[in-house]
């Protein structure tokens, strides 16, 4: 009987502790709620873009003829690259057994890609600078607000032959009809697919020379990030987070950066830049 009473008291105390810890956790969460991230700012230390990213995104309205952002005269067509280190914040992306996180690696890759692109004379705008996680739409909007930009999203996969790199172009998706009869068009990438394919093939060709086992031409995949991007857009995915040592991935960064920069430079003359940001090519 005494034992029973003891158990009851213990249960009571346990439940009291439970309540208290819930309260404390709640309080801690309120205190540590993240501040809104600033994602569309160009990196510090670089001149601001000729066309600063608009505060209100266009939402990827690729077909809108009357854009609120009238095109400013700009020389030379393509000169901005929007670089998207994927994932970040609470989303680590792919995770390797050795503690390698995709979100960290792509940020380091982005630094090197950025440098290589700047050496080729491009202006680079990053969708995130640190460990933030802007939404897919926010990242696309960074590109859609630019005129004469291309978009590159960087990834490290969980699978695939380690040491290979694949370039992806968005595949066309059939639309779905809502219950209210509206077609959610959200397909800003559609008019750019041909250009994206051309851009992707150029970059993939250069990557294949350097990273044996990589495909010769770009692949298609239904990449969410690309769908809402109103610009020539590619995803570059490196294999993989399963390497034993992070250094294996780090060693790939200069080659990837060089291929992307030279591929973008080769693509530049073929891209006739639309008159409005996010406009049709």
């Amino acid at each position: 009987m005494l034992l029973d009473v003891g158990n009851i008291v213990r249960i009571r105390l346990l439940s009291l502790f439970g309540t208290l810890s819930v309260v404390f956790t709640g309080a801690a969460m309120v205190v540590s709620s993240p501040a809104p991230s600033q994602t569309q700012q160009p990196a510090p230390g670089t001149p601001p873009p000729a066309n600063p990213p608009a505060a209100s995104p266009q939402g990827g309205m690729a077909g809108s003829a009357a854009s609120p952002f009238s095109g400013q005269p700009q020389q030379g067509g393509l000169n901005i690259v929007v670089l998207d280190p994927a994932h970040g914040g609470t989303d680590p992306g792919a995770r390797g057994t050795g503690g390698i996180r995709e979100s960290d690696i792509v940020l380091d890759f982005a630094m090197q890609v950025r440098r290589a692109l700047e050496l080729q004379g491009f202006q680079v705008v990053q969708t995130r600078q640190g460990n933030e996680d802007p939404s897919f739409d926010d990242r696309s909007a960074t590109a859609n607000a630019q005129r004469g930009a291309v978009f590159i999203t960087l990834h490290v996969s969980s699978t695939g032959l380690p040491g290979t790199v694949r370039v992806y172009v968005n595949s066309d998706l059939p639309p779905v009809t809502n219950a209210n009869g509206l077609i959610p068009w959200d397909r800003a990438q559609a008019p750019f697919l041909g250009l994206s394919r051309k851009f992707g093939d150029l970059v993939q060709g250069l990557l294949a020379q350097r990273f044996k086992g990589s495909p010769d031409t770009s692949q298609t995949a239904s990449v969410r990030q690309l769908r809402t991007t109103a610009a020539p857009a590619i995803a570059v995915e490196i294999s993989s987070v399963t390497v034993d040592d992070r250094a294996q991935l780090d060693r790939m960064a200069p080659g990837v950066a060089d291929a992307i920069a030279r591929g973008t430079a080769a693509f530049k003359p073929t891209y006739i830049v639309p008159n409005v940001p996010g406009g049709l090519p």
Partner: protein, 247 residues
């Protein structure tokens, strides 16, 4: 300790015991109820799962093509042909085929879908759009990445294409909900083309010329006529006569 203190301590303990004695049955009842609820949903899920795979002796045994990875670590698919008793009705047939795909190949290395993922439901709309509802594990257990997620979806769509002619396109739900991506990369907001384009859209050839298929010369970089047309739904709701490119 003075006797007065002893009385206080004992009184306090007695009150705590009393409170606990009142609270304990309530707690026990709650725990039991929670356990019962979980059991129920498990039974429900199992019923959903078992129903479609139930073998009907009247079902004819047919050659079934299942698309698994062609090589471990490779990102291509290869069909494996097995003989299965399949229903003639497209919905149970799709469930049978997808459950076999989920069960996986003999060589577990060639799996395209996580072993703990289950098909919770499968529906077919009159226009040929299928809706497959998978458990959360499809999204949480799959290796994250464009290559792995695309391989998973391709194995589902190509297996349906090979075995269920009625399915034209596929919408994937995760636990009854529309998901933005499978595991951070692959777009689940739309529907995937299942039938090959030739079989599906014989009358809309002009529409099936997306800019990607045009010759690679700079002068051709104008939007195709269909590109602007895509944004004006003049064909009316429910008509899905858009170009569908297989990924």
């Amino acid at each position: 300790m003075t006797p007065r203190w002893k009385v206080f301590v004992i009184a306090g303990l007695a009150m705590a015991v009393l409170a606990a004695a009142i609270y304990f049955p309530i707690l026990r009842r709650r725990v039991r109820r929670a356990a019962r609820l979980q059991q129920q949903s498990e039974v429900q899920a199992r019923r959903e799962l078992i129903q479609p795979v139930a073998v009907n002796p009247a079902d004819p045994r047919v050659k079934t093509s299942l698309f698994w990875a062609s090589d471990a670590g490779d990102s291509t698919l290869a069909p494996v042909t097995v003989e299965l008793p399949l229903s003639r009705d497209p919905v149970p047939r799709s469930k049978q085929v997808l459950n076999t795909l989920l069960a996986g190949p003999v060589d577990a290395e060639l799996r395209t879908l996580p072993p703990d993922a289950v098909l919770l439901g499968f529906y077919l709309l009159p226009d040929g759009t299928a809706i497959a509802d998978f458990s959360e594990a499809l999204a949480t257990s799959i290796p994250s990445g464009i290559v792995s997620e695309q391989l998973a979806v391709d194995s589902i769509t190509r297996t349906l294409e090979a075995n269920v002619p009625q399915v034209q396109r596929l919408k994937i739900l995760i636990h009854g909900q529309e998901a933005e991506t499978l595991a951070g990369h692959l777009d689940l907001t739309g529907a995937f083309a299942v039938r090959s384009r030739q079989a599906q859209l014989p009358a809309s050839q002009p529409l099936t010329a997306p800019s990607s298929e045009k010759p690679a010369v700079p002068t051709s970089d104008k939007p195709p006529a269909s590109a602007t047309g895509k944004l004006t739904p003049d064909k009316g709701p429910g008509k899905l006569s858009q170009p569908e490119r297989k990924s």
